[in-house]
Point group: C2
């Protein structure tokens, strides 16, 4: 286990009057142990405790020869794995619980563990993860560098007669050639009015002149996620309105990025972008938060929204992704990842945001 | 909503003395509404009640213009979505909870909803889903037909100098050409000793003569999952031991399939396969249950293991996948999907299980 990260989590637990916790998020376990397992529906949990009696519960199906720096408890599908886990819990005191711990494990743990209370305490892990250490920052830079390179090649896929799903399929190949581990999420590829749907899945729509082409894409490298969006035009900008929407989104993106530094409330970053979109008359068409934290997961804990009162801290990495969506007509989004540094910020994506008409 | 399926679930809830439940499994919601949404970390829930006050809670980010046959409650990222959900719950009586409902929603629901108790009740949905109706059976047949066709083409990828990851990458293209919706899980491709690791991820291992080649693959079509495994030999069978292991696994697979019909305890099906592997001296090397149920998810509720006392029922679809794994040396698994019919069974995979040496 990474003892520095563990100690940081235990200290945060102490502030919540907790001395023990069950962590079940595979990304959080990776954060501490360096080992990633996707357990499917099976129990997979790391029990941590101020007393040092840490244990990790792993089904026999997963081969784990290496030393994880924590006692392994192995079990098979037919064992009472919940009983084993409950046996590790210290009775009569509260137990911290991971946010994603599912009801099928949580309800029996509530019944059988003997802990005096059950308290959502992922925030202790999340806050530790939200401030990336230097090793993590470098991994995040590398993932976004690869994503920038991928975007340049994705632009080359924009050509007459192509469909959204054909582009999406080729993206996987390009990512592979660039040597990434995989996608951090399924690529979003939208043409024209489809871009107005924030969760449009690439379909059989054929590209036509005047379409916007929206790519919201991310790769994963060494466990860490990239995520960026660019919106291109194909052959022409079909109307002044389209141009105005594009430039408004770009200005909103840049206005938010211009004020990034430690101490700035996250809601003010959202406001900086949202104000520009509102002033252009598109306030109601910016239907989501400005950004989300990112790291081992594409959606790490933490968002950059109108209600986010926390302030930016060194090591925070999140997206800045304003958008304007006019249903049935047009959608534009421009997204970078940004890193808050000790004295300012780094924009992790360098791919151009200038209005780009692909011939 | 599919009223027949809803009624079946409500009846099962009643037997558990429940009249209300929160369903959050996207596959279960699809089962009832025909609409699939992947909500990521956001709240997505269907509240069902004997009183008929059913409601579905969907974040505004997801465009759902269609009538789902149930009142929609929409909310944005900054709304108190848990409060909205708790508002629907009838106070003072127990509330059924979905097995995958995560702690971040469950703990506040326990605190705020006013229900008198919280009871894991997915089993009511799972049991309904475990007995496929005729429409579902046909969809499952179709998914496995496509998977059989894919396997025949995957065999063609076995050639000198190829790596596991190169084959896995091409599988995605082949599936796409066959018109499936996607993979039901990441394809497992293993060569030689790597096959002994049940969860080996395709890597840079290069194929060499005498290797076993294990493909554990599944596609998804119209929401329903296929899943099958075949193990080939490349150029030669390297030893008599390898041949004996292969034939033992094949006989175990066929012995289990030979006894399938309604009324047979699932543990006896496991036993039929396991006995053959034990008699060959490889009992400890068959390290997992014989099979799992499958449908909208690749691992539906229900397993075919030594402790599964339930009996096979018409409409059950599960895998039969015995294996022998000798660490550092060899692994063989042969897997079909099978459907229990009113008077017997159908094997949904027809791809050959004869020992096959690929030249």
């Amino acid at each position: 286990m990474n003892t520095q990260r563990l100690e940081s989590i235990l200290q945060k637990l102490e502030k919540q009057n907790l001395s023990q916790m069950i962590i079940s998020d595979p990304a959080a376990i990776f954060y501490l142990t360096g080992r990633y397992i996707d357990p499917g529906e099976r129990l997979y949990a790391l029990y941590i405790s101020r007393s040092g009696k840490n244990r990790i519960f792993i089904n026999n199906l997963f081969t784990v020869p290496e030393d994880l720096g924590v006692e392994k408890v192995r079990f098979s599908d037919t064992d009472d794995s919940i009983g084993l886990l409950c046996g590790a819990v210290e009775k009569g005191i509260p137990l911290g619980i991971d946010k994603i711990f599912p009801a099928r494990f949580l309800l029996p743990v509530i019944e059988r563990s003997g802990a005096s209370a059950f308290q959502l305490s992922s925030i202790c892990v999340d806050e530790a993860r939200a401030c990336k250490d230097e090793a993590e920052r470098e991994l995040m830079r590398e993932a976004s560098r690869l994503n920038d390179r991928a975007m340049a090649r994705f632009r080359g896929l924009i050509r007459e007669g192509v469909t959204e799903e054909a582009i999406a399929a080729q993206m996987a190949d390009i990512y592979r050639e660039l040597g990434v581990d995989g996608c951090s999420f399924e690529p979003l590829v939208g043409f024209g009015a489809n871009c107005a749907n924030g969760h449009h899945a690439p379909g059989k729509t054929v590209l036509k002149p005047g379409d916007t082409v929206l790519f919201d894409v991310g790769c994963k490298k060494n466990g860490y996620c990239a995520d960026m969006t660019r919106t291109f035009f194909y052959k022409k900008v079909p109307s002044e309105k389209h141009r105005q929407i594009y430039e408004t989104v770009r200005r909103a993106n840049e206005a938010a990025e211009a004020i990034l530094k430690p101490g700035v409330p996250l809601c003010e970053i959202d406001r900086a972008a949202r104000r520009i979109i509102e002033e252009a008359g598109y306030g109601p068409n910016f239907t989501h938060r400005l950004g989300h934290f990112i790291g081992l997961e594409v959606h790490d804990y933490g968002d950059v929204s109108e209600t986010a009162t926390a302030v930016a801290e060194p090591g925070n990495i999140f997206s800045i992704e304003p958008g304007i969506y006019v249903e049935g007509e047009v959608g534009v989004r421009i997204e970078d990842l940004v890193l808050i540094t000790e004295d300012g910020c780094e924009i992790l994506n360098s791919y151009s945001k200038e209005l780009d008409i692909v011939e």
